[in-house]
């Protein structure tokens, strides 16, 4: 009984750090950049997209019905005006508002193959390899691109990839440029010479992100010093370490964890009441809203942002 529980938990943890942290795709190796500077609205099909298994997926014509099991990709498609092509998503998609009306054909842990087939999609986009085989067996065109674990600049490559796939490269280029502008704008506001304030990002119960994560990179961009600089990936930080490293800021969904615990009263973030909660989930979806999330975090730290 207990063992089952633990196995399930371990699986859920893995799955969750994937969904919550970063539902995106790694397009490092996509051969897209050649098209980037051509103002070209129509894609010449067929096109080849390199998936995360290192294989080319050939798309013969413009897909009209797409299943997107990934929050970031859904946001990108809506942002480039192709949201109406989505015929199925997974149940954790929260943004934009219209996306909530799209049929749910799966979640982070399972997919409903019958429902997917029923939609007769031209393309099924997944971030989790587990389902690829099942989908392939049913003669579905599958594009599997692994979850983005770090390097959020890849978001802009992913935007371009979707522009190419949907034959909508103009809007994609615009959106990608807007994304890069936003990031550059944030960079320009930061004085990297000044001392970095120390920060602790608590996701819950002292679980936090290390430097090699999307969150870790955001902190670096904002010239913040992550007190969890010596962990890899996601982990639960020892409370003694938090006291010793004495963060100036704490970001947490549960401020009471720190405010009500006598052990944390000497931490400067607690003494100076610098404990904040992020209101939007933009930083947990590496899509077009990601810069908004960075701005939200920055405005909590820097008073005149």
């Amino acid at each position: 009984m207990k063992n089952n529980l633990i196995t399930t938990m371990m699986f859920l943890i893995v799955a969750l750090s994937i969904t919550v942290a970063c539902n995106s795709s790694n397009t490092d190796s996509n051969q897209l950049n050649s098209n980037q500077n051509q103002k070209n609205d129509t894609t010449k099909y067929p096109i080849d997209i390199l998936d995360s298994n290192g294989e080319n997926v050939r798309i013969y014509e413009k897909p009209e019905k797409i299943i997107v099991l990934d929050s970031a990709a859904v946001e990108i498609l809506f942002a480039i005006g192709q949201g109406d092509k989505i015929v199925g998503t997974h149940s954790f998609v929260t943004h934009p508002e219209e996306a909530k009306q799209i049929p749910k054909v799966g979640d982070a842990f399972s997919i409903n193959i019958e429902k997917i087939i029923e939609q007769e999609p031209d393309l099924v986009y997944i971030f989790f390899n587990k389902f690829a085989e099942d989908l392939n067996k049913n003669q579905l065109k599958v594009l599997y691109i692994k979850t983005l674990e770090n390097d959020f600049s890849n978001i802009s490559d992913q935007i371009l990839m979707w522009g190419k796939i949907t034959g909508n490269q103009d809007s994609a280029i615009q959106l990608s440029e807007k994304f890069q502008d936003q990031i550059e704008n944030i960079q320009s506001k930061i004085n990297y010479q000044s001392e970095s304030p120390k920060i602790f990002i608590d996701t819950t119960d002292l679980w936090t992100s290390g430097p090699n994560t999307l969150m870790g990179e955001v902190l670096e961009l904002l010239n913040l010093s992550n007190i969890a600089h010596d962990i890899s990936g996601y982990a639960q930080l020892n409370p003694e370490i938090i006291i010793e490293r004495n963060p100036d800021f704490i970001i947490t969904p549960n401020p009471s964890t720190f405010k009500n615990n006598p052990a944390f009263q000497e931490i400067s973030a607690v003494k100076n009441n610098k404990i904040f909660t992020l209101q939007s989930d933009a930083l947990s979806v590496p899509g077009p809203r990601f810069p908004e999330g960075i701005n939200e975090l920055a405005s909590l730290i820097y008073p005149d942002w």
């Binding site: 859920l12 919550v20 930080l237 370490i241 006291i243 010793e244 052990a263």
Partner: protein, 338 residues
């Protein structure tokens, strides 16, 4: 009366020294002399000039000490309730999770976490909900089984049935509710990272009272090992005593899981080892396995917070990881002896 004073005192001394050692170990190095000064100062035995940073005081007094004490009383509670269930079911493989207690607690914590938005409310509500979930499940299990004359088998079977139902509900809620599930996972994996004195004050009295009750009635644990007709003819109201054991142990378990989450194997292994060493008299098993459980969990927690510095490992993973193989070794060893 026969009470193992000698062994109890000896194991209490071992427990105390392990707790002291455990308090002096941690990712942040604080010398033993300084720890001594901090504690002496706090107890106001003698005036000591404060020569240490305030953060050391927080770490010793508000992190390590509550942590070590919480681990201790949770180990005590899990181990004693494990021994009690083993006596009740006449089955050395019984443990606090058998009656659907842990799964009941997990379900109600899941309900609270997935159905309520206010996160600070959730944090405060976890222990209460774990407690009520555990009690509801045990009551259901016991009620169903007494409908069938309360035999041990029906008790175990209805416990398993209740556990399956609650686990199915938990999985369903986890899969089909939107909120961030990490607090829930973190709770289920178990641990003492956020131990506080307040938590000890809340669950301590329950554990203390139910431990005292268990030790006082440990003679009855022996008597219910006889067949039911026989023990009744010795003047034992078996239905009543079984009900007392179930309620008492469930309160104990619920108190243990409410803050520490689900920590497996302690309730199974500790009584087993004590039984191997001291024999089958529950007047030995109850107090000694309780202390042994405390020792085991304090040690496990010390390992879980220091071995991957600065990262914590959920202590439930650790007990299962080390407990499993050790248990298999014990099984193999007893078989050879026979």
């Amino acid at each position: 009366m026969i009470f193992p004073w000698k062994y109890t005192l000896l194991s209490l001394i071992i427990l105390c020294s392990i707790m002291v050692i455990s308090i002096s170990i941690g990712p942040v190095y604080i010398s033993s002399f300084e720890i001594l000064k901090i504690i002496t100062n706090k107890l106001q035995i003698i005036e000591i000039e404060k020569s240490w940073p305030q953060s050391f005081e927080s770490i010793i007094l508000n992190i390590r000490m509550p942590r070590v004490f919480l681990a201790g009383i949770v180990g005590l509670a899990l181990s004693i309730s494990g021994a009690s269930y083993q006596a009740l079911f006449k089955n050395p493989l019984a443990d606090p999770y058998l009656l659907g207690i842990a799964s009941g607690a997990a379900l109600s914590v899941t309900i609270v976490m997935t159905q309520f938005e206010n996160s600070s409310l959730i944090t405060n509500f976890i222990p209460v909900s774990a407690f009520s979930g555990a009690i509801i499940c045990v009551t259901a299990t016991y009620y169903i089984s007494t409908k069938q004359h309360g035999s041990t088998n029906t008790l175990i079977l209805s416990g398993i049935a209740i556990a399956s139902i609650t686990q199915a509900c938990t999985s369903f809620l986890m899969l089909y509710s939107n909120p961030d599930l990490r607090p829930l996972l973190s709770w289920i994996l178990g641990g003492f990272a956020s131990a506080q004195w307040d938590q000890i004050l809340i669950i301590g009295p329950y554990i203390l009272i139910s431990t005292i009750i268990s030790i006082s009635i440990s003679k009855y644990f022996n008597l219910i090992q006889l067949n039911q007709e026989h023990s009744q003819q010795l003047g034992l109201n078996t239905q009543k005593i079984k009900l007392i054991i179930v309620i008492n142990s469930s309160i104990n378990t619920a108190a243990a899981v409410s803050f520490a989450g689900i920590i497996g194997f302690v309730g199974l292994i500790c009584p087993h080892i004590i039984r191997n060493i001291f024999g089958g008299d529950y007047r030995n098993i109850i107090p000694l396995s309780g202390i042994f459980g405390a020792i085991l969990l304090v040690l496990s927690d010390t390992i879980s917070r220091t071995i991957l510095n600065p990262v914590e490992i959920p202590v439930g993973i650790l007990t299962a990881l080390f407990g499993g193989p050790f248990f298999l070794y014990l099984l193999a060893k007893t078989k050879n002896q026979n």
